[in-house]
Symmetry: C2
Subunit: 203 residues, 2 copies
DNA sequence: ATATTTGTCAACCGTTTGGTTTAACCAAGA
DNA sequence: TCTTGGTTAAACCAAACGGTTGACAAATAT
């Protein structure tokens, strides 16, 4: 009843920490609350992760490493811009619907500690825009797309896809939606958003 | 040197609280820090605002009351949809450039405490979409706009305008921008965004 | 069989935090 | 002159917090 639990406990902690940190943030989270959520003693948190800061970083890097591949796909695969937009919009909204706290958590904590960006910029497979920019420029010159800068298009795409989840309470308030309504609306956006973008940029 | 300062101190506190709360959030802010920022004694905070919670709510309502009119204009004036989009995009980006912490603060705290929405929904001049929806529908039927739902268009508009400010550190990281670069990019978006939207929806 | 390591826990520790209190001070108004 | 209201520094308080300790049992190694 030891080694089986030792691996198990560590994952239980990380999972509990994920839940608490992602809903309450670093400042709002309490070590005791994480321990309770994991159903273990508070000392165990420090036994496995030494400090709140390190536990938080484990959670954060885990969260970020889930988001980065989503972006890397659109930025670096060989499909056309139109295909990229359609795929990303569909896949990203599906993905976030399953992890609704993720984008807000990442954004909130990056705002709290902006030099965090530099840290993760080096380590993990941090997305780069070079290939995407080149592809946009190429399709613009070929007359497939109307003139647009790659970086502006990129911001358009992520704004339209991510923002509704980040501002969920606000949007629910403005549009007077229930949780179910909101989910349905996001479902519609899986195609609505890509059509909206493509309408605007395609010749 | 009494009554002049009494009003003054109250504003000094609110202003200091604004700075601290908007950068660190409710959980990250410390009463002592706010007192220091205001250059007054900590007892004064409680003298004027009784508790951290009440001081925070004063700051939050103040912040929200700055944002709401921006939306109310676009939603309720009599201009065409195209004009609404152009005006809102230009004005909103100008406005937020002067108050960069505002949208993130509001969104972060609404996520932390979603039933806050209901509170402010009653009290202040909370924006409603009815008129905007009707106008969109009318222009679609008149053939001015391509078919689109008002609520989806509304989400598009606020996403494209607000998100870049909320995700500033992320965007700075992806695009490898300095603060100056970022500001320039947002300046470009004052027209870029509205053109992008109008391209997509106009017949 | 014995010793060591590893996982776990309850209790504890020092510090920070939001909030209160006290005593004194000062300027303005009655 | 006396009261009143804004202000301060300082001490104080209880609760909450992150983190540590020491004991103990189960698993592993010798």
């Amino acid at each position: 009843m030891k080694k089986e639990n030792s691996e198990n406990t560590e994952k239980q902690i990380l999972n509990a920490a994920k839940n608490i940190f992602q809903t309450k943030g670093m400042n709002g989270a309490r070590m005791q609350e994480i321990a309770d959520e994991a159903g273990i003693n508070k000392a165990m948190l420090h036994y496995y992760y030494r400090s709140k800061q390190l536990l938080f970083e484990a959670v954060f890097e885990n969260a970020f490493s889930l988001l980065a591949p989503q972006l890397n796909t659109i930025l670096n695969d060989d499909s056309t811009i139109e295909e990229k937009i359609k795929n990303f919009t569909y896949n990203y909204i599906s993905f976030i619907s399953k992890h609704p706290y993720l984008p807000n958590f990442v954004i909130q904590e990056l705002n709290r500690n902006p030099n965090f960006v530099e840290k993760i910029q080096q380590s993990s497979a941090f997305p780069t825009l070079d290939k995407f920019n080149a592809k946009v420029e190429k399709e613009v010159k070929a007359g497939i797309l109307k003139p647009i800068e790659g970086k502006q298009l990129f911001i358009h795409i992520i704004s339209l896809n991510i923002f509704p989840f980040v501002a969920k309470p606000l949007i629910k308030g403005f549009l007077k939606l229930s949780d179910k309504d909101f989910k349905k609306l996001m479902e519609e956006r899986k195609t609505e958003v890509s059509e909206f973008i493509i309408h605007s940029i395609k010749n």
